[in-house]
């Protein structure tokens, strides 16, 4: 039992603002994600994507506005790992701990049985030998797979993924695309940030584009591109915002 409010939209962000001193990282941002969709979260470096994800995940507190998952702040979810899976940075591992150890540590805290650790390792195709090695020996792609295994550990209904494609080889990218589509087809919801627009165009249903912490576009991918490719639409929107 996850105690999850499945009637609520998976993500509702309303008038979200985050300031660090005089710097505004996110400003008056509002959007909603519907169940069963994959949404691309796009914007230049420093646009506020990662900050938005941290606010959604309760790692940072908003200056004003709200960021709710399944109808409540992340920290108030009864069993967060079973509701939301996230990849924030590929470096979030202890270098001396084995990949399997990292997942077991999280499973213990989440009250998830260790057999699930081996299931998700299989799912992300991180072999038994690799899983037993310390994370310091991993390639970037292996770290991403381990991060994804951690995100999937609680069999969540929402995935918040920050640059999950970074460092993946072409097979890995294809695998991730297929996995995300399968996840959404089963009713799961995905918010995925990326700079690889060609890949985003192949994977997502919708895009959110932000710049300077403000929302520039929130549209279905076909509407936004309007006959152009995603890259042209993105470049035009971000150039307009900068001028």
């Amino acid at each position: 039992m996850t105690g999850l409010d499945t009637a609520a939209d998976p993500v509702v962000v309303e008038r979200l603002t985050k300031r660090y001193g005089r710097t505004t990282a996110v400003e008056d941002l509002s959007f909603t994600l519907n169940a069963g969709t994959i949404t691309g979260f796009l914007g230049p470096n420093g646009a506020g994507k990662s900050t938005t994800l941290r606010l959604l995940l309760g790692l940072a507190a908003p200056t004003s506005g709200t960021a709710f998952v399944f109808g409540r702040p992340y920290a108030e979810l009864a069993s967060p790992a079973r509701a939301v899976g996230a990849i924030l940075e590929s470096g979030d591992f202890h270098p001396a701990r084995a990949g399997r150890g990292h997942l077991r540590m999280l499973a213990l805290a989440a009250g998830i049985g260790w057999e699930r650790v081996d299931e998700v390792l299989d799912r992300v195709e991180l072999g038994a030998a690799a899983a037993s090695r310390p994370v310091r020996t991993y390639s970037m792609g292996m770290r991403q797979r381990l991060g994804l295994a951690a995100a999937l550990l609680g069999n969540p209904r929402l995935l918040l993924l920050d640059e999950p494609i970074n460092g993946l080889d072409p097979t890995g990218v294809h695998w991730l695309r297929t996995a995300l589509r399968g996840f959404a087809a089963d009713g799961g919801t995905v918010l995925v940030s990326s700079h690889v627009l060609a890949e985003v165009a192949q994977t997502v249903d919708r895009v959110l584009i932000i710049n300077g912490g403000r929302l520039l576009a929130d549209a279905a991918i076909d509407e936004l591109a309007g006959g152009r490719n995603l890259e042209d639409a993105y470049l035009q929107l971000t150039a307009e915002a900068a001028s």
């Binding site: 941290r54 995940l57 309760g58 790692l59 940072a60 507190a61 992340y74 920290a75 979810l77 967060p80 790992a81 939301v84 996230a86 924030l88 940075e89 470096g91 979030d92 591992f93 202890h94 270098p95 001396a96 701990r97 084995a98 150890g101 990292h102 077991r104 540590m105 999280l106 213990l108 805290a109 989440a110 009250g111 951690a150």
Partner: protein, 247 residues
Amino acid sequence: MIAQIRSEAYKLATTRTNAGIAAAIVGLVSLAVLLHAFGLPVEKLGNQYQQRGIFIDVGVNLGILFAALLGALSITSEFRTGTIRPTLLVTPRRAQVIAAKTLCVLLAGAVTGVLAAGTAAGAGSIGLTIRGVTVELTAGDVTRLLVGAGAAGALWAAIGLGVGAVIRAQVPTIVGLFAWVLFIENVLGGDLPSAHRFVPGALAQALGGQVRDGILTSAALAAVLLAGYAAVAAITGMSAMLRRDVA
């Protein structure tokens, strides 16, 4: 809460940091106590009071130093490696994370204190015997040393955790703790014994049974005061964790 405690205990068990700390304690404490046992003139080593003083100086001081290090690393290494993020994603109620860490480091700190004191008493006794000096310590002295060092180690680990949770950065935290134990407390002990009695390192010595100027004679009072320091550190650390963003 039980789940988080299990996770924290697993963290302590799955990196080599603690094995490294244990090895460093045995090595450094043995070296320090043997330097005393072989380096000091016999007239400064002969009686019960002198021997107890040396064992407590070496065992308790290094014990609390490493216990504080262990407590601090339990949180600063999470910030350094980034594992604090997955930890807080699974357990977003941060007070639970700090409470679970506190319980785990209290236990690990106690073991650290006992290990350091035991090594000091063991290696020191062997050193004295080899030098032909009779070991005058009673079973009561040794028991008091081990129990006191265990309690002091536990409480100092909680102090280290609290300091680490506030400072977050690993190097400044460790430098600060080491400077306090090795330098500032020593200066206070020499120059201001009346104030030195109430600082946390001197309280640890009092728990171990040290009898000298600048050390409280009441173990009960020392225990209460040191527990107070540990509680203040842990609560300050918890409140810093609750208040501040995790980047």
